[in-house]
């Protein structure tokens, strides 16, 4: 293990040999990875493609990685003194030596600077290791617990910000509100999926099926029967819940991986039905001209309303603006999402919510306590699917067009990623994760092809540092000894009966 402070001369060669070995290994891996990806580039040339070699780039990258690894190992093993001047030298060299590309110079300087900072920090703190993994995990757990506690203060601020968003100067352009609407759709889906994945512990890989059922329910009901959004919304929830129960029955006996695979299949089945049942769903053509929601049936968002229909801009006495509807849709999803949130928070504290969590922890014990596992699993499916159905019908009315392409497996994966990265069961974590996974990639569209790279890197980093999710912390749903929480009301209600034994 760690060599203390590198003071004894006997251990120094060992450390250096170790550092050299790890450095060479890192360099070799880097060489293998970069030689083809970076080393050769096809460029259009007269009469076809020509190959351009960039071996200088490869050489610099490999050298930097090897040196960086050696430096890190030395710092880790308590020998940061020689690393600091070396790192500064690398940074200076990167600045002054001409490189083929500016990015390479930047990369070199950055490597030197990071290494210098790291070794300087280690020298200053007189110790090599940043913090052991356990200590860091513990610190993060304490942090998430604090965040969880502070939710009561954070949530109102966040909600107030969300409510005010369309009117904050600088943020109230159509693009931002549209993006916020998209993020909120995924927040709602995440909260819905959280019931089944986070609470009941059933890994559902086919959540998009319920989203699709909700979207098509609204699209078909609205275009065929001309029903309004406000009637279709609950109907879409009912249809999605039925789909949830239909899926729920066959998978009742399955657990773990098998369960996940069957739900994955269900998601694909729904998509394929939508794709192939041309008479009903118009297959790959999709359903277009889906009516937009009215302002609660009072007014329509149109420039020139038909006879007998009030236009929204007339209602509020303003001139027509396309952003009215965007803002209305934004508020609609905000309210829907908050309803889902309130519902999940509430149901978690009810017997059914507790039994879901118990099911996640140990389903054999659940049965021994007389809990009907079939019923509570189906309930989890039903509720979760209903939320997905609501989100789906919102999606349909927002887009005005649905096609099976919107309901591919990747959607399920993204929603699941939001739930898992956010920290299973944490409502706030899901909001954070949705902003990171949906908002940031949209925001950084300018990064073009690096966008997905950054997305992947973020996922890897979160999984490295927080394998249980960003804000994985569970608070009990009821307290016995903590006054001021759930226990207080209960203590008040039966304050006198404390001594009395339960009826037996």
């Amino acid at each position: 293990m760690a060599v203390i402070a590198g003071s004894s001369s006997g251990t120094e060669p060992v450390v250096w040999r170790m550092a050299l070995k790890e450095g060479l290994l890192a360099g070799f891996v880097a060489l293998m990875l970069t030689i083809t990806l970076v080393g050769f580039k096809t460029v259009p040339a007269a009469g076809g493609l020509a190959i351009e070699t960039r071996f200088i780039d490869v050489g610099v990258a490999v050298l930097l990685l090897a040196l960086g690894r050696i430096g890190l190992v030395l710092v880790r093993e308590g020998n940061p003194l020689p690393v600091l001047p070396g790192a500064i030298a690398v940074a200076i060299a990167g600045y002054f030596i001409p490189m083929p590309t500016a990015f390479l110079s930047f990369f070199t300087v950055a490597t030197g600077a990071i290494l210098a900072l790291r070794s300087g920090w280690a020298l200053w703190r007189h110790r090599g290791q940043i913090a052991s993994r356990e200590a860091r995990d513990k610190a993060m757990d304490v942090f998430s617990a604090k965040v969880q506690r502070s939710t009561i203060y954070v949530a109102p601020v966040a909600i107030a910000f969300a409510v005010a968003l369309p009117f904050i100067p600088g943020l109230n352009d159509r693009g931002t509100v549209d993006m916020a609407t998209l993020v909120l759709t995924y927040v709602m889906l995440g909260w819905g999926l959280n019931i089944i994945v986070g609470l009941a512990g059933l890994l559902d890989l086919g959540y998009v099926a319920f989203y699709a059922v909700g979207a098509y329910s609204y699209a078909l009901l609205a275009t065929t029967f001309g029903l309004s959004f406000w009637i279709c919304l609950p109907l879409a929830g009912v249809f999605a819940a039925s789909a949830g129960l239909i899926l729920g029955f066959p998978v009742l006996r399955l657990r773990g991986d098998y369960f996940a695979i069957v739900t994955l299949g269900f998601g694909e089945i729904v998509r394929l039905i939508l794709l192939n049942w041309y008479d009903l769903t118009k297959g790959p053509d999709g359903i277009s001209k889906i009516p937009r929601p009215s302002f609660f049936g009072i007014a329509e968002f149109t420039r020139q309303p038909e006879v007998g229909v009030t236009a929204f801009h007339d209602l509020i006495g303003a001139s027509y603006s396309g952003t009215h509807r965007v803002i209305f849709l934004y508020y609609l999803i905000l309210v829907l999402a908050l309803c889902v949130n309130a519902f999940s928070l509430r149901i978690r504290k009810l017997p059914i919510g507790r039994s879901w969590e118990a099911l996640r922890e140990d389903d054999v014990a659940c049965q021994s306590l007389g809990i009907n596992r079939r019923n509570i699993k189906l309930a989890a499916f039903g509720f979760s699917a209903t939320m997905g159905g609501f989100a789906g019908s919102f999606f349909a009315t927002r887009q005005g067009f649905v096609s099976p392409e919107s309901f591919t497996f990747i959607e399920s994966a993204i929603v699941l990623a939001i739930v898992v990265l956010g920290g299973m069961g944490s409502q706030l974590g899901i909001v954070l994760a949705a902003i990171i996974l949906i908002g940031l990639p949209e925001w950084f569209r300018d990064l073009a092809e690096y966008r997905m790279l950054a997305f992947g890197a973020a996922m890897v980093l979160i999984m490295l540092w927080r394998p249980r999710g960003l804000l994985a912390h569970r608070d009990p749903t009821i307290y016995l000894n903590k006054p001021g929480r759930g226990g207080r009301a209960a203590a008040k209600a039966t304050g006198k009966a404390t001594e009395g034994a339960p009826a037996q």
Partner: protein, 295 residues
């Protein structure tokens, strides 16, 4: 201890008749019949692999017995356990159990474990979640009652101070007692304890004896006990059933079992074999008795 007297007063609560459980060719339980009286502690003992836990799994609906009848009488209602679903056995017939390897909801708090045990009552009170969602006063009252019930059992197992901690963070002995408390929170009429003293130190074992006897005497329910620790079995049992290789070899009061030659030979070991583990002793006696085991 005047255990025999208590055993006589208790009415028959559980009747196991000709219970047989086969797993393919393996006969785990072979035609076992016994009964357990109300308000008494019935111990099932036997060497490892004798089929004790299988009996429990049949009783609590985890296995469907191949043959036999399992009758339970609760409040003058008769239940045929072999025909009921597992969760209905716990809910309607009132059989609660603990597990050999503790099965707590370890991420949930101690108190929540006990609240989950009262699921069915609370579920009805919450109007199957509809009333509960709107915070109906009737549900809040039911929850407060459930909380008091849980508090009572936490006091019985002395875990009130740790009620809000995750159950998984408790020390082993506390987890054992919490599992018993959780089982008792379902208001059972028969409590099945699967090796409750396993892994406990002598002080905790004494404590456990007191708890089990209190459950029998104060709550007037039957206890069915699987245990290897003879200090527990001989101390608190009113009635003992001895199984060996899936068969019942003896049945009686602790005194009778202690003096039963078959049991001494098969299980407790003969005088000179005192230092042998019971399994070895059982094997030896099997060889002595000759062509007995043909299953």
């Amino acid at each position: 201890m005047s255990v025999a007297a208590i055993a006589d007063t208790g009415q028959s609560l559980l009747e196991v008749e000709h219970l047989t459980m086969r797993f393919g060719g393996l006969v785990a339980i072979d035609d076992v019949s016994f009964s357990a009286a109300d308000r008494s502690i019935t111990a099932i003992i036997g060497p490892n692999g004798a089929g004790k836990t299988t009996v429990f799994n049949c009783l609590t609906g985890f296995y469907k017995p191949t043959e036999g009848r399992l009758g339970l009488r609760r409040d003058d209602r008769d239940f045929l356990l072999e025909r009921m679903e597992g969760h209905d056995i716990a809910r309607h017939a009132g059989i609660a159990r603990t597990f050999q390897n503790i099965r707590l909801f370890s991420e949930m708090s101690v108190l929540e474990n006990l609240m989950v045990a009262q699921h069915n009552r609370l579920m009805r009170a919450s109007g199957y979640s509809v009333l509960g969602l709107f915070g109906a006063p009737s549900y809040r009252k039911a929850e407060a009652l459930a909380l008091e019930h849980a508090r009572y059992w936490l006091e019985q197992v002395r875990l009130v101070d740790r009620a809000d901690e995750p159950a998984g963070s408790l020390p082993y002995g506390d987890q054992r007692r919490l599992e018993i408390a959780r089982a008792m929170c379902t208001d059972p009429c028969l409590l099945c304890l699967d090796e409750p003293a396993a892994g406990l130190n002598p002080r905790e074992t004494l404590d456990l004896n007191r708890l089990i006897m209190a459950i029998r005497d104060k709550h007037h329910i039957g206890v069915l006990l699987i245990e290897h620790d003879m200090s527990v079995v001989m101390e608190i049992s009113d009635h003992i059933v001895v199984l060996d290789y899936g068969r019942k070899i003896a049945d009686g009061s602790p005194e009778e079992i202690r003096n039963d030659p078959a049991v001494i030979r098969a299980y407790l070991g003969e005088e000179e074999d005192e230092d042998l583990p019971p399994e070895v002793a059982a094997d030896l006696s099997r060889n002595d008795s000759g062509s007995e085991g043909d299953a």
